[in-house]
Amino acid sequence: MLYRENGQFKTSYRADQQIFPIVQDRIAIALLLVVAAVVIPWTAPEYLFRAILIPFLILSLAALGLNILVGYCGQISLGTGAFMAVGAYAAYNFTVRIQGMPLIVALLLGGVCATAIGVLFGIPSLRIKGLYLAVATLAAQFFTDWAFLRIKWFTNDSLSGSVNVGGLQVFGWPIDTPVQKYLFCLAFVVVFALLAKNLVRGHLGREWMAIRDMDVAAEVIGIRPVYAKLTAFAVSSFIVGVAGGLWGFVHLGSWEPAAFSIDRSFQLLFMVIIGGLGSIMGSFFGAAFIVVLPIILDNLPYWFDVPIDTALASHLTFMIFGALIVFFLIVEPHGIARLWSTGKEKLRLWPFPH
């Protein structure tokens, strides 16, 4: 397709402030949405929904939330799993304890609880900087892991400490088949992505980035670190909490704290870094990469029909995964999103070199 912006003159600041100022981009995104919402549900096989698309959507939502904290506000977090867990278990408790609690409300309330916890563990960030802050978030991680295993009330006194939900429905429509689940998640992701984008391009977003880039200068121009950091923690953990709720309710249906272990936190951090810090779109790239890569690696031998020993296969997966991450950081520390934009730049100027 011809990718040119010449002839597209902005006549108002408003027009200039759009998310996708270039017409072609707007068309592309519209097409993408149509494909996602209409074409895929009709065409894709069940496996794709259950094993790839639904996890991808939910995890990219979580990654998006994390990206606001790490990518936009520069506060490193290794405890994302914890906030997902809070979201999931809170939503669970709202559903089992309040009769006829609507699914969406429960999920959002879960997010609210996650926000509270997020802000609580965000308070140290006012005093602690950089890697030291990681320990605060790790404290959150291990504490919630423990709390949901130990405190029976959270799991509604289930004997095994694992909880399960069923009969999901929204306004009478059941959320049951893979397609329904997929569309449900898709709706959430699209809405949240839009809201998040609005935030980061508004003045709150600028305050976050200012704190990230040069906190002293930010203070001098009147930005309050307390407000900026805590709002970042709040928004981030709200989104992450909702994602956690979706992960438990829609993807797993029955879960235990292990579903939100520290491995999950690292996985999400990988997504954000590889996808691109400080980029909404990056969160999606990262999620796609991290979700899909291991599956591809697992399957490769079967596609080429060279069955290798399972143990070896998964060891290789580990190795390739690690190697790729390092490779990525070396080639493009700013992640896939940056590759994407450089690609677009080139396309804009094509065929002229500069």
Binding site: S12, Q17, N198, H203, R206, A210, M214, A217, V220
Partner: protein
Amino acid sequence: MSLVAASTAAPAAPAVEGAPEAAVATLARRGIGEVVLEVKDISLAFGGVKALTDISFDVREHEIRAIIGPNGAGKSSMLNCINGVYQPQKGSISLRGRTFAHMNPRQVAEMGVARTFQSLALFKGMSVLDNIMAGRNLKMKTNLFQQAIRWGAAEREETANRRVVEGIIDFLEIQAYRKTPVGKMPYGLQKRVDLGRALAMEPQVLLLDEPMAGMNVEEKQDMSRFILDVNDEFGTTIVLIEHDMSVVMDLSDRVVVLDYGKKIGDGTPAEVRHNPEVIRAYLGTAH
């Protein structure tokens, strides 16, 4: 040189304390008014190291006040105290007669004090536009939810402020760079963005920390022009830090000279130029 020092020693002596007649005269001529910022015996130390000792001076409405001194004289520390970035152990600072026991940067900013930085402190990850827009944050009032929805109040606010910022961009002649990340710009222009960010706050008092450091002659001339324009057009009071004397002399109305954290001179450029201590501190080191 040492001769000059000897000959000017006597008359220059009184120039050290307060603002002498000559100075007052000049001020009157440029229609300079009340004291807006007053610094009283500020002392600041990091651990054992004394950065500032008993510094006092005042800044009057609409004047251009320079603080000069060799490197490490404590100029930037002085500004950081005024901004409330550092908390001095001793002394007081009052803005428009209001004295703060504890200055915090936010309050100072709300009082209409803006500032640029010596070592560029721009937001590297953001575009020129966003950097300057960030300067407007005190003027933007919509809450988190309104911004999340954007449509309506937030959108309007954004556009309104954008208009102001575009004005500043035109004033600084950096239209072409609007959307470029500041990191990618030439040094001289980054300095302008820094100034722009400060101007976006519509300040009454503007603190400039070595605005011309590391610039070539043309850039210096541009920058001086901007400073004078700001001072005339917006009537902004300017406190200017420089270690390069020549610049200061033709820009500023009054000059404070610091050396090793102590005030060694205060007065019109002319007076200061002939102050023996200043000469020793400066040219002495120059030899």
